[in-house]
Amino acid sequence: MSEIRYAQVKEWPYPVHYGKENEVSADVLIIGGGVAGCHAAINAAKRGAKVVVVDKGAVIRSGSAGAGIDHWHDACTNPCCRITPEEMVESGAAQSFGLTGYITCKESYDTLLDVEKMGVGIRDVDDEFAGAAFRDEKTRLMFAYDYENKHIIRLRGGANMKPALYNELERLNAETYEHIMVTSLLTEGSKTGSRVVGATGVNIRTGEFYIFKAKATVLSTSQPSGLWVFSTELVGSYIELFDPNCTGDGHAMAWEVGAEFTLVERSGPSMGIFHYPAYGTGNAHNTWYACTIVDATGKEIPWVDRDGRVLKTVSERYRPAPGQKLFTHAAIIANIPYEVRGPSLIPDLAERIKKGEYVLPFYADLPGMPEHERRAIFGLMVGNEGKTRIPIYETYTKAGFDPDQDMLQTNVLPPEKAGSYEPWWCMHSGGTGPPQWREGGGGIVVVDWDLKTNLEGLYAAGHVGGGFGCATASSTGRYAGRKAAAYARTAAEPVINRKQVEEEKARVYAPVSRNGGIGWKELQAGLCRIMQDYCGEYKGEETLKMGLKWLNSIRESEAARAYARNPHELKRTLECLSHITVGEMIMHASLARKASSKAEVWGADFKRIDYPEMDPPEWNKFVTIRLENGEVKVGELPFNYWLLPPNAPTYEENYDRHCGL
């Protein structure tokens, strides 16, 4: 009988000092040490700022991209690319939109050259792919998806991205404070809407308290995840792509001090706990683009271009359609405009399965792919992507899987789900869970061309600032680090308000002094149920208001009795409190948008039962929300606010004016 599994209850392995204060000063404080935070820290430190990075995990591997990255978007300035940053952003092919999209297109390749200097392999230096259609012989860069336009780069050493960034932080003497959860932002005079002067944190191993004082702060936290779906039984490898530490703490703390948010009401269908391991089943998209899919009898599923023209060769899957300038991959098709929509499997697959034309299950026919493509998909991409190098490449090959001989099975789903994109792409098989299961809510902080929020001293990078994906997160981090360092050079000395610290300490440590009450798992599952019932696929005035009422009721009752028996449970309990705040934000924003919307317009699948009209023109705008003196203030911004006064009318002019290079 295993000693480990039947061990007696042992004392917590770390020395516990709840409430013991540590004070740390910085010119630039970085909250969240993922790729965005690391690039922010590196660029601020290079400009002479004293930099402090705080992270819930260990920076060497923390964050959504911590386990690795296989391809790099929007590298428009690489010497082989045929697309300008303007074309990329205006066509909708960039990973992000608006100003963060443009900043990425301008700096994504330079950011990649930065990490190459740190030792991350971005080229085919050993010529394994010499002669491949996706390889440039001169630069040895390798490209994904659109081989004609070459705007997305395959990374042969992306699994090493975070360790390389971590070493660079050490080299530049940026201080890292790890295993610390930041719980609140501190403001001048403790006021909502005033300058941000630092943050508080709690060590999730020792329970010690941290007061970070900073001239400038970069918020580089992730999208909140796990808001709708939680199970104590079926967690594990199928949870959302985001790190389970991405619980919306950054959103909640910025909201509490008056930061303005938008797109908060946006969410999409979730597979929830029905995921298979990421990129670990046969599929044809993203990391697996554009693998041949065959049915149980070995019959190939045809590929078509955006116009439905059947593609006869594998190489056509990597080329734009006739007359098309460029394309981006089509994994989440609903969001991809026709102009840049890439090739995909036939769109009427479901009907043809039902008619018996194709027999389930399907397989990813790696052996049938040309050798370079097969090795690029499984050896390079799966071999370097986060959550696949060890979980898929190592685990599967050790179990005997050989891409030269074997066809990986796709997960078997109802034919209706066998749309042109869905089941073969394991992350976004929309709708496999019940309709109440959603993911992606919480939105982003509104930022200006300095990547500054509406609060003085607070900058945003990565997901919280609109930087979707690794290249965007890294590029916006690089930019925000420069801007925060420039601000810190002339900023007044920050003054911490002791009362604000005391109030936060009382809030943070309350769960460890309680006996009885409920544990964090029950609290988390209960909050998810409120989100499912009152903020699911279909929303209405009455149900959203009830949702707000019940969230507040739980905050006053069960959450006020939640216990934590060690610093780890304390972290999880505090995350539940963030969950309540982010849930309220989503419901407020959902109430404010009095119209329904299709995914194509602003990336949301937003249905108001009481306002069923889809995308009435007067609602083609961003809804914004922020807190002011305890009241929720609703506002709006035009979809292109970054090109309207006081901004300049073109992307380039704004970038040149603000980029700080």
């Binding site: 480990i4 039947y6 042992k10 004392e11 392995p13 770390y14 819930k56 995990g57 260990a58 060497i60 591997r61 923390s62 911590g66 386990a67 394994e128 042969r156 050493g157 699994a159 999730i204 191993r205 104590t232 039984e233 079926l234 967690v235 594990g236 490898s237 199928y238 790190d243 389970p244 298979y276 391991p277 670990g280 089943t281 397989y363 052996p367 049938g368 090795r375 050896g379 390079l380 799966v382 071999g383 370097n384 986060g386 959550k387 190098r389 060890i390 979980p391 190592e394 685990t395 090959t397 050790k398 179990a399 005997g400 899987f401 050989d402 001989q405 074997d406 066809m407 990986l408 099975q409």
Partner: protein, 114 residues
């Protein structure tokens, strides 16, 4: 057959997440340091293998395995309901992660090497 039985809680979660070989593990706690969710905590007894305290919070990123200095001392295991299968194209044979008598390992490293 041993008639000893214990009053113990149910298994925490329907998976083991990570498995440590106590014969190989040196107790260096590198895996404890890199784990983003503190699935592992140090063993109070020095040089003993870390304790897998929170397998239910594993992200299955594999960083603990990637950073382990002793090959084979720690491995990540997909939950049973996450184990997929494949078909050998030429022979039509079916295989599955976790099957009895699996095929021999494929030893080719990923692009760029381990």
């Amino acid at each position: 057959m041993n008639n000893q039985a214990y009053m113990v809680p149910n298994p925490v979660t329907p998976c083991q997440a990570i498995i440590i070989d106590p014969k190989l593990c040196t107790g260096c706690n590198t895996c404890v340091e890199v784990c983003r969710t503190d699935v592992l905590v140090p063993n109070p007894e020095r040089e003993k293998p870390p304790i897998v305290l929170y397998p239910d919070e594993c992200w299955f990123g594999g960083c603990c395995v990637a950073h382990c200095p002793v090959p084979g001392a720690i491995r990540m295991e997909h939950p049973l309901n996450q184990r997929v299968g494949w078909k050998r194209k030429e022979t039509g044979e079916y295989f599955r992660i976790g099957m009895k008598n699996p095929p021999p390992p494929n030893t080719r490293p990923p692009v760029g090497g381990w």
